[in-house]
Every structure is written in C-alpha cells, then in structure tokens.
Amino acid sequence: MPGETMPLVESQNLELHFRLPGGATLKAVDGISFAIPAGRTLGLVGESGCGKTTAGRTLVGLYPPTGGKVLFRGKDTRTLSKSDRSAFTRHAQMIFQDPYSSLNPRMTVGDIVGEGIDIHRLSTGKQRMERIWELLSFVGLAKEHANRFPHEFSGGQRQRIGIARSLAVEPDFIVCDEPISALDVSIQSQIVNLLISLQQRLGLTYLFISHDLSMVKYICERVAVMYLGVIVEAAPSDELYREPLHPYTKALLSAIPIADPEKERSRRRILLTGDVPSPVDPPPGCRFAPRCPLAGKLCWDQSPTLREVASSHSVACHFVCSEET
C-alpha cells in the first residue's frame, strides 16, 4: 500500500517450474505475488501439492525462481552483489517441517546451532559458545543440551533446536514451513506460543506455511490461500475466516471440523467432489474450475487474475469480481 513503509519481503509474479523428464513442465508455483511488511506474519495455506512449500523455499533462495522475482528490502535477490547476497542468506532463514530429518544426526546440538555463526563468522571461541547457550535458553532448552545429539531429544525439543539454529544468525525473516505439523497436539501449542513470543521479542517477520487453517488464523494477521500453484484469495485473517469469497476458500473452511459438537452438527458443509488436478500441465482457465460448483464457460477458458475487491482483500474468481463491479 502506498504511504506505508517498504515491505521487508516481496514476491512479484514468482514462478517456479520444474522440467520433468519427457518434456512436461510441473508448474509448482505459477505467478504468485504478495508482500510482507516487517514484523508481520503472512500465512500461506493450501492442501498438499499446492506449491506452498516450494514458494517458501524459493523465497529464501533455496530454489532460483524460473520467473518473476523476490525482493528483499526492495532489492531483487537474483542480482545481489556478493556482500548483499551474504546478508540476504543470513537475514532470511527457514524452519523445516520434519524435526527428525532436518537435523544432522552426527552433529551435536551446539554445532548444529553454531553452524550459521561459523559460516557468517559472527563470533568464535568462548563468545560463540555463550551465544549458543543464549540461543538454547531463548527456545527453552538448557546449556548442557549443547553437547548432546539430536536422537536424544523428543520431536518438540528437536523443533526447538531447529528454531534456535534459524535464530543463530540474527535473521529478520523466517519461513516457517509447517513447523508444527509433525508434532503432537499438546506440543504444538508450546511451539506456536514460542514462535509468537520470539516474534514479539526480536521483531521477526514470518511466512507461516501450513495446511492447518485454525492454527494459521491464530498466528497470522494476513492469510493467502493457494490452490495448484496460484493464490486464489488473500485477506486479513479475521476477515478471510468471517467472509471467504473464493469458492475454494469457502469449501476449505467449511471442511474443517470444529471442536464443539453442537456447532459442528448444525454447520453446512460444502463437500468438494474429485481431487486436486495434477500440476503437470494444469487445466487452462481457472485452476479450480473442474471442482467448482459455480464454474461457467468463462472459467474454463480464461484464468481469473487476483484482484482487490475490498480493502486489502483480493480474490481470483470471475464471479466475485463481476458481483463487485
């Protein structure tokens, strides 16, 4: 929005296509745009295979985009100078989904957390060790844990180690890729509350990727819904949940059971038929058309663009736009 400060991270028409053997193209991310102001949290939700993880990885530079660009502090991440590039890889970090496979089993926790400190030469010797202890205490672990190996920890503790590792290089922006989905319910809330308190304390900016819509609503100020590589709707989270506009968002929200039997039984559920089509050569026109109860001829022919239909509420659907204008 004009007048506001520059967003910390911005994705402009970002594309990531994978070439498959045999010449087909898998369009994992197909032109998504959003901006995250500093200190805020954007939630990226969608079902498995919709491209949300690929989008997150592209954002921190793990994949080079095949189209569009990522701006970090207003600079295009593809054309950074050597020193800017090093600053970017330091200030944009990631927390991974699976705390079992994302920690090297042959390194001690201290070395896992300290690896970024060594690479970016932030401190050495005694200072380095003290920094590692400080980071462990940040995430609710103890000093003596630094000498242990990942297998000695539970899933929740491992996720804390992953968080400490990402914080080690003093990042501004963290992509949290399903950080709680591998954890048990009673541990999930511990990690979520930890992420929120760290954000308040350190002024972090998050992209929170998840398929867990209730948790996303709780954590994020703003939510973008992805379907088959594109963003179909983006809005402030309370508004999105109160008044979803895209037929997919509506179905997605209505599919989530609520932990209250009286409310749950009186709800009207929109059941989608069929499955998500393959992102290899996706259907022309609207990606959601094959499953959409509203789809008409226009939807099959022409892909709707993401348009702002109300203040900071955007949606990519022919029907919604025609209603509003």
Binding site: S48, D184, S186, S189, I196, Y218, I256, P257, A259
Partner: protein
C-alpha cells in the same frame, strides 16, 4: 442397546532391548452396537494398541496382554487363531491410517477388496463376489466402480485409496468398524469427504464405529461417546456432548484448549501444556498427567485415581479432584477453574 465390545482392565506391554514398555495400563471400555466411540489421545497413549488388541493383531510374545476383551460375549483373548480368523475382517473390519501403505501395490483393487469375501464365504460364486465388490465400491463413492476392479493402488489418489480401504473393511458387513486415524494422512477437503462417508455407512449398515483420532474437531463431527486416553489409561469417558460441555479431567481441558478454534476470533488464547508425556518404560506410580498438571495434589503423584462418576450422567473422570473429599475441600473442578490453573496461559 447391548454392549458389542467390553474391554476390562486391559494391559499390554512389550518387551524390548531397552526394557518393558507399558503401552496400555488397565483400560476398561465398552462399545454399544451401532454407536460411534471416539478414542482420543496423543501418539504413544495406547489408543492404537488397544484397537489392535481387539483384532488380536499384536503377537504374544513379544507382547504380554492381560485383562479381558469380549466381543458379542466371546472372550477374544481366549480364542484360537482359527476362531479369531473367522472374526477378523468379517465381524470386525479395520481401516488403517495410511492408505498408501495399507493396500498391496501388486494386487488389483478388485482382488484386494474381495479377499475378505473369498476367505469368509468360500462357497460364494465369483460373479456374486464381483457384484458385491462393485456394489461396495459404489457405496464408498468411487466413480465407475466396474472399471476400477482391474486397477492398481498407485493409480488412485490418496482419498480414493482410503475409499478403497473402507470398501475392503465393510464388504463383509462387519458389526464393528475400527477406524485408526482414518483421515490423518489426508487433506482437509478429503477428510471431510471421508468422515461424511464413514458417518453415512454407519447409518446405512448399523455397524458400530471405533474412531481413533487425536483431532478433537473430527471427534465432535462423528462421536456419540468419547474416551480420552493419556499414557496408556482412560482418563475421561462419557457422552460426546457432555465431554465437550463439561470436560472434567485436567488433561481433557488442556487438550481442548491447546488447539485454536476456527469459529473463535484471534483474541482466543492458546494454552501450552508444559512438559511431555511420561516415559512408558517407567510409568509414574500415580496419575500419568500429574507432572504436567497445575492442580496436582499429593495423592496424584503416588496413587492412580479410579474413574469417578460425575453427577447426573454417564460421564466419568479418573482424577482425584473428583473424589468426595477433594470436592468438599476444594470445590467443584469446573472447566473455568481447570483452564485457569492447569496450564500456564500465554
């Protein structure tokens, strides 16, 4: 309605190199015919092991099983393997969590689905079995069922595979369907389809459902009664509406409040339960939840509470706070009080 399943004081432990794991520690449960009982709890709380004992899927040794498991009056633990085989897949069907691994990748779907029929009804004619397979595939919502019989699991999407697994479980018209986390591996829109399907099949066939899950949302959608498991024990049990309205064990309260709810706004606070579940290699002497519970009394750490029946309902909680002496001294542990004191609010 009579009791279809009666589990009395069931204990299951496994001998491992590291010692003995006490996975289930004195569970008593009943399932009435035609009802849906939800078994809720976190991973490692013994819910799946309890269900697998019902089908005697747990080999002894290495496991040691004690207690009683009765199905329609017959003691399952005393049956011979041959008698048990007559029940498995015929009287009791089971759906597993992961549809990717519970189907045989080298066997045609039609053959897999009719395997139970061929086993339990050897005299059934081939054409009749095929007709049944088509019928049951249609019942679980697989389009063009006659064309699917010759296909393989890899040609199906996750949701379709789970439908095929359900078809396989219900083809013999079981009296009890055990659904062990049937939607955990699926996306939410697919989950909604599968839950709707299980609910519909239950109504159509009158079978009882034992639904195992960790998701309170799924429970509220399906269950008539709930049993909450923690550290190998049932900590609370009762009619679903009651358990949601008046959760009475501190763990149940914490479980309900540790997930944000979609229908509440963002100002709701999320409770964190401190700590982790106890190690079942050396289970605590008292209540399994005592170490994480802000309301734990001295007795909680040394003695396991029996289930206390709550006022005017078939609802019970295994928590000393419901003992008459504790009630007299501390008053009713209402939901509000439990919420405030059990966990550290953010």
């Amino acid at each position: 309605m009579g009791n279809l399943v009666e589990i009395e004081n069931l204990s299951v432990s496994f001998s491992t190199y590291g010692g003995s794991v006490h996975a289930v520690r004195g569970v008593s449960l009943t399932i009435r015919s035609g009802e849906c009982l939800a078994v809720v709890g976190e991973s490692g709380c013994g819910k799946s092991v309890t269900a697998q004992t019902l089908l005697r899927l747990i080999p002894t040794p290495p496991a040691q099983i004690s207690g009683r498991v009765r199905f329609e009056g017959a003691d399952l633990l005393g049956l011979t393997e041959r008698q048990m085989n007559a029940i498995r897949g015929d009287q009791i069907g089971m759906i597993f969590q992961d549809p990717m691994t519970s189907l045989n990748p080298t066997m045609q779907i039609g053959r897999q689905i009719t395997e139970g029929l061929r086993e339990h009804h050897p005299s059934m004619r081939k054409a009749e079995a095929k007709r049944r397979a088509i019928e049951v595939l249609a019942q679980v919502g697989i389009p063009e069922p006659e064309h699917q019989l010759k296909r393989y699991a890899y040609e199906f999407s996750g949701g379709m595979r789970q439908r095929a697994v359900i078809a396989m479980a219900i083809i013999c018209r079981p009296r009890l369907l055990i659904a062990d986390e049937p939607t955990t591996a699926l996306d939410v829109t697919t989950q909604a389809q599968i839950l709707e399907l299980i609910g519909r099949l239950k109504e159509e066939t009158g079978m009882a459902v034992m639904l195992i899950t960790h998701d309170m949302g799924v429970v509220s959608h399906m269950a008539e009664r709930i049993a909450v498991f923690y550290a190998g024990q049932v900590v609370e049990e009762g009619p679903a509406a009651e358990v949601f309205r008046r959760p009475s064990h501190p763990y149940t309260v914490a479980l309900l409040r540790s997930r944000p709810r979609l229908d509440l706004d963002r100002s709701q606070s999320l409770l964190s339960i401190p700590g982790t579940p106890p190690d079942l290699f050396a289970p605590p002497a008292g209540c399994g939840f005592a170490a994480r519970c802000g309301l734990a009394l001295k007795v909680c750490r040394t003695h396991q509470a029996p289930p206390f029946a709550l006022k005017d309902s078939h609802h019970s909680a295994a928590c000393w706070l419901h003992h008459p002496l504790a009630l007299a001294r501390h008053g009713e542990p209402t939901r509000e009080r439990l919420e405030q004191e059990v966990c550290h609010a953010r």
